[in-house]
Symmetry: C3
Subunit: 110 residues, 3 copies
């Protein structure tokens, strides 16, 4: 029943969430999870010019389960190309196995 | 010192947290971590019938470190059987190694 | 382009965040991500003597990507030695691959 998957994790500035969600959506991935995050990069500097410490939870951690490593890398490349020249961010992959996935289908069907 | 473990991750609707915590507790796992999460599944529809985008952090991401892969799969199966017909959710496993674990013992002992 | 890394995850009481951030910083790691977390350990008791259930998000989950497994273990050992006698906490490692990392350099340069 378990199905191998790549988990792509992106940690970046929260202002980018909507744009990144759009890239994920267009990639064909079936969804993503987003969590508010704080933290600090090596330079302690963000695109706003403010130190990240002072606005503690202005980052977001986005996770995407993809069927293939290729899809994860394609999404990551797209995000890095579009945003990582101007914004702090990191993208990494972990291997995972999906045990169970269910999307609720509303009263109007699927 | 490192001890292999399976990390079970469940992302589902927040209303289920208490019930899932009970299943985890009864499984013999030593604890769990819960984080508020937002995001979007492939259908953008939840059990409430509302799109997930409008109530952004009404999901929860629950992580459980289990000694064995079997325990992780048992918990996942129980949760999927009980809830994933009626609620959105996904469960997956990542391999991990526990380096250090300590549960504080109160003044009344352990 | 992908670069192997160890992801060290620490889940512990939120009051320790600043002190742990200092340890991470001094280790030479390039940054960390912190997320508010709730949950429950096997004893449902924290250093405050209160059950963890009543103050639901008073934990923090900290993630550090390190170049080597040794660096991850060194950070974990330091944290466990300093804090895990007196506070609840767990530390574990997952293997990861960094795809892309960028630290924004402000108008004053890097």
């Amino acid at each position: 029943m378990a199905k191998p998957a790549s988990k792509l994790v992106i940690v970046t500035e929260k202002v980018l969430l909507k744009k990144i969600a759009k890239i994920i959506d267009e990639s064909g991935a079936t969804g993503y999870t987003a969590v508010d995050a704080g933290g600090q990069g090596s330079r302690n500097v963000r695109s706003t010019g403010h130190p990240s410490v002072s606005d503690h939870y202005s980052n977001v951690k986005i996770e995407v389960l993809t069927e293939s490593r290729d899809m994860a890398m394609k999404i990551s490349d797209e995000i890095a190309t579009q945003f990582f020249d101007d914004y702090s961010g990191i993208a990494y992959i972990c291997e995972a196995e999906v045990l169970s996935a269910h999307k609720f289908c509303g009263p109007d069907g699927c």
